[in-house]
């Protein structure tokens, strides 16, 4: 009988997640630096100024891009944490589902804040 020689290495989707976590990190870092510099040089004062700032299409879109990156980044990060500490599959999958639903909820909520009213 021939010995089973194939190395069980998995589906490699972890590499994709690893890479995307870094790409999303770069996107968020750029947004952070630009937003930080914008607020330091010219911070909007009062309701009207804040409202005006977040009614610009560029600000809205880049904020959504930031949050979409965050969604994926936080998903990979939280999944890593849960995989490390929650050993029982049922508990881990439940926790991961909760995290996933929360992240999607955050994203929809943010979209409604930025475009809703």
């Amino acid at each position: 009988m021939k010995a089973y020689r194939k190395n069980p290495v998995g589906a490699h989707y972890g590499v994709g997640d690893w890479l995307l976590q870094r790409l999303t990190a770069v996107v968020m870092a750029l947004f952070t630096v630009v937003m930080f510099l914008a607020l330091v040089t010219e911070a909007p004062h009062g309701y009207a100024a804040w409202k005006a700032m977040f009614s610009g299409t560029l600000v809205r879109l880049s904020t959504m891009l930031f949050l979409a990156s965050l969604l994926y980044h936080a998903w990979v990060g939280m999944r890593d944490i849960l995989m490390d500490y929650l050993k029982a599959t049922s508990v881990r999958l439940t926790a991961q589902s909760v995290v996933g639903f929360m992240l999607v909820f955050y994203l929809i909520w943010a979209a409604s804040i930025l475009w809703g009213r």
Binding site: R22, A25, V26, A29, T32, V40, G46, Y47, W50, K51, F54, L70, A74, G77, M78, I81, V99, M102, L103, Y106, W109, A110, I113, L114, R117
Partner: protein, 132 residues
């Protein structure tokens, strides 16, 4: 895989050294990166969205958020959150550089870990100075 390891003693208990003071700087950066990441996911992000919802929703909501942030306790908590974000930011950049094999040796990795803590503290102090 096939190599049989010595069987564990019957009353084997894994030993976890949970004292953060025993960790070298890169280890501290790592665990704080993890803790800050989890706290940013919850409760910091939903709290921030809550403030955005109120402050961008109506003039009254904006005034309410403005008044909250005038309280010293709220300010202190906010600066705590800023530190968590700043630490996660700088530690993350350090990991990106390490991924590119930049400063991967023990000595530079150790000093870059200290730089992460210094930059995180400086960024927080700067925000505190601007907002207080």
């Amino acid at each position: 895989m096939s190599a049989a390891s010595t069987p564990r003693p019957k009353h084997y208990r894994p030993y976890y050294d949970l004292n953060l003071a025993h960790l070298p700087p890169p280890g501290l950066v790592s665990i704080f990166h993890r803790i800050s990441g989890a706290l940013l996911f919850f409760p910091i992000l939903p709290t921030l969205l809550c403030f955005m919802y109120l402050a961008l929703g109506s003039e009254a909501g904006f005034t309410r958020v403005h008044e909250w942030f005038a309280q010293p306790l709220v300010k202190a908590i906010a600066f705590g959150a800023v530190w968590l974000y700043a630490h996660h930011f700088f530690a993350g950049i350090r990991y990106l550089l390490l991924d590119l094999h930049w400063g991967i040796e023990k000595a530079p990795a150790r000093s870059s870990a200290l730089v992460v803590f210094v930059l995180g503290a400086l960024a927080t102090l700067f925000v505190a100075w601007r907002l207080w």
